[in-house]
């Protein structure tokens, strides 16, 4: 074999990989585009919020089902008073709030006891999910029932399971303790269930960044873009994930994730599958995959739905260090959730979930960052060793970035067409600018972090509560 033959062989191998990656990038972006188009087509038809008259009718209706709001909390002293206060003021006629303090090391419990005049309660758990021991249950004498459970630390899933054991309502909603829900959020989340109570088992809402928005009396009173570019990047990213991806997956009844920060579930269904899983960092995704797995196995008709309108406002990380940890955890969660239910992969028994959503999550959400990184690496190496022309490399990077920009700006446009939360065009313009900028560096950084998460997930690294540096909500001027 001559030197020239070796050179040709290397070139062929190289082009094989490079073509594969280009095909991969094309397929992933086409799927994103397809989901975004689905979202555009369906958002006006399927995501209409209740009118004022309908809200009044639901408030007066004796048939409105009860909801137990489960709020797991760990070291949330900075925001817990404000967010629980907000949860007690929601527009819904029949609900209770169960805050589960998962052995916080700060003053979370003390703040709750003092702020809401709590009493020691004799309430006993109804459910039988195995959890860490409960130390004490407190109740408030306020008109809306507030129950606070103090328990031994066991992680977020364990805290939610304690809430599930105590909940008595047919519907349970899981909300992060650092979040603020729209006043009509509970009602909007219950809408798909009210439309189809026999089949709907889980409903997901939209999560958005509250950083630098004004909060007064437990409500987000002024919505604006953050002063932190990192928070704005995440705002766009959340819009893309929720408006772009989840609406499409919801239409196909193959949504594999409902955010742990904001999800409504049929209690009976969650108890039937054994509650939230302790041994994974992605307990939210794992539960949804398990629900699909279980109900497909039983051949029972069911639906997992996403609704765009109800918004849960949450503080997103403003430091690279915390964001890095968060993204690694999320990626590990994806790896764990998919590997536990691997039997669903390309299995026609699981319908669209097995044949489309599962392979999509495996190929593009789990392995995607690694392939993207490999693509960047091979392209750079190719240019350096003159295997590929610099023009081709520039074209590859440009197409990849342009696709990203197209998807991000589409998500922002979807927001503008539908919910239109931002008060002035200046904020919308800033968001469009961010949608362009986030593709130039930030997305690539996230890719690198997700690869680290993927490696940790494959190694089987365990984890508990994610650490978040709280700044507290921005109080509106009086």
């Amino acid at each position: 074999m001559t030197l020239q033959d070796i050179d040709i062989f290397v070139h062929r191998i190289y082009f094989f990989f490079e073509s594969g990656i280009i095909l991969y990038v094309f397929v992933i972006n086409s799927i994103y585009l397809f989901l975004t188009i689905l979202a555009f087509l369906s958002i006006r038809r399927h995501h209409t919020p209740f009118s004022l008259a309908e809200r009044e009718a639901i408030m007066k209706s004796p048939l409105t089902p009860a909801i137990s709001l489960i709020v797991p909390a760990y070291n949330e002293a900075m925001t817990v008073k404000e967010s629980v206060g907000c949860m007690l003021k929601l527009d819904y006629p029949n609900y209770e709030v169960i805050v589960v303090n998962d052995g916080s090391k700060d003053a979370t419990l003390q703040i709750l006891i003092e702020s809401f005049q709590l009493y020691k309660s004799a309430r006993a758990p109804v459910g039988t999910l195995e959890t860490k021991p409960i130390r004490r249950i407190y109740e408030s004498s306020q008109p809306i029932r507030l129950v606070v459970v103090d328990k031994v630390n066991g992680g977020k899933a364990d805290a939610i399971n304690v809430g599930l054991n105590l909940a008595t309502a047919p519907l349970v909603m899981v909300v992060d303790s650092d979040s603020i829900i729209d006043r009509a959020g509970l009602m909007q989340m219950a809408k798909p269930y009210l439309e189809d109570p026999d089949r709907v088992i889980a409903v997901g809402g939209t999560v958005r960044a509250v950083n630098d928005c004004s909060v007064a009396r437990g409500r987000v009173t002024r919505i604006r873009t953050s002063r932190s570019i990192l928070a704005n990047f995440q705002s766009v990213e959340y819009l893309r994930a929720f408006y772009g991806g989840r609406i499409g997956f919801s239409l196909l009844n193959s949504m594999l994730i409902i955010s742990g920060a904001f999800g409504l579930f049929k209690r009976e269904a969650v108890l039937e599958v054994g509650g939230f899983e302790h041994s994974t960092v992605g307990e939210d995704m794992e539960l949804i995959v398990r629900l699909h797995h279980h109900f497909c196995d039983l051949k029972q008709p069911y639906r997992v739905v996403y609704v765009a309108d109800p918004v849960c406002w949450t503080e997103v990380p403003q430091t690279l260090k915390i964001l890095h940890r968060q993204r690694k955890r999320w990626q590990r969660g994806t790896v764990e959730s998919l590997s536990r239910h691997w039997v669903m992969m390309l299995n026609p028994r699981y319908g669209l979930v097995g044949m489309f959503a599962f392979p999509y999550f495996f190929l593009f959400e789990m392995l995607g960052p690694a392939v993207e990184l490999l693509g960047y690496f091979l392209t750079v190496i190719g240019v350096l060793f003159r295997i590929i022309a610099p023009e081709v490399a520039i074209l590859f990077f440009s197409v990849s970035i342009m696709f990203g920009i197209l998807l991000s700006t589409s998500a922002v446009l979807l927001e503008e067409f539908t919910t239109l939360r931002y008060p002035s065009w200046r904020h919308s313009l800033s968001l469009f600018g961010t949608a362009i900028l986030e593709n130039l560096g930030f997305r690539q950084l996230l890719t690198w972090w997700r690869v680290q998460g993927l490696v940790e997930g494959l190694k089987g690294k365990r984890g508990g509560w994610g650490v978040m540096e709280r700044r507290g909500f921005q109080t509106a001027p009086k």
Binding site: S51, S61, L63, Y119, S121, R123, V126, G127, D196
Partner: protein, 234 residues
């Protein structure tokens, strides 16, 4: 739909009736609500009939408005409706009746209790305390409490909570001390209504029962004797 409601005379109303019967759930509900607001008893009966065939959301949105006509509906319309053959309509009618807490006339209640569908039997059991024509409830309730169907047992326990049937005490004690979950909690509540034997039974479970059952008994006793027992400043 709201604009149609403002139109005077028959044209607007005709359009609303059409929309109430064939559209998307939210439009149907909006049309029904507008019609229900100004409905005479006859129209209320017609609306009730429409609502029974619609999705649950429509019934939720209408339940409040139709409540004003509950006496008329509970006296004649619901008894006639439950005599029909459509299982879903029977369950929906009984569900609405139960939510209004209005006295009912169901002379055919024993027929409902022998219906082949457990959902119908459970719905009928839930409205038993409201039924003015009910007689000889005991055998049906006892049968429901021993049923394999969890929804029937739950409905039976809910009925016992209101009806306070002394002969169910041994069964209630068994459920309260032996089983877990929502059924046991309901059994404890039913026991707490059967004074003094039920309360005594709860005290026994509290002292001698398994930990989970004892905790539930303590909760029920505390609720019954509130505020002296259950509330203590943190």
């Amino acid at each position: 739909v709201d604009c149609l409601g403002l139109l005077a005379g028959g044209r607007g109303e005709d359009a609303l009736w059409r929309l109430a019967q064939r559209s998307t759930p939210l439009v149907e509900a909006a049309a029904c609500r507008l019609l229900a607001r100004s409905a005479d008893p006859e129209s209320a009966v017609r609306l009730f009939g429409i609502a029974l065939g619609k999705p649950y959301l429509v019934r939720v949105l209408l339940a409040g408005e139709l409540r004003h006509h509950a006496p008329t509906l509970c006296e004649k319309t619901i008894p006639a409706e439950v005599a029909g053959a459509d299982e879903r309509r029977i369950v929906a009618a009984l569900e609405l009746a139960g939510s209004w807490h209005n006295a009912l006339h169901l002379p055919d209640w024993p027929v409902l209790m022998t219906h082949p569908s457990p959902a119908v039997r459970a719905a009928a059991l839930r409205v038993t305390p409201l039924n003015l024509d009910v007689q000889d409830v005991e055998p049906y309730v006892l049968e429901a409490l021993q049923s394999d169907n969890i929804h029937l047992r739950e409905a039976g326990l809910t009925a016992v909570c209101q009806l306070r049937i002394g002969s169910t005490l041994p069964l209630l004690a068994h459920v309260a001390s032996g089983e877990s979950g929502e059924l046991a909690r309901l059994a404890c509540q039913a026991l707490s209504r059967l004074e003094p034997e039920g309360i005594e039974c709860l005290r026994t479970i509290l002292l001698e029962g398994p930990p989970r059952a004892a905790a539930r008994a303590a909760e029920t006793l505390a609720e019954r004797l509130r505020p002296s027992l259950s509330l203590e400043f943190a």
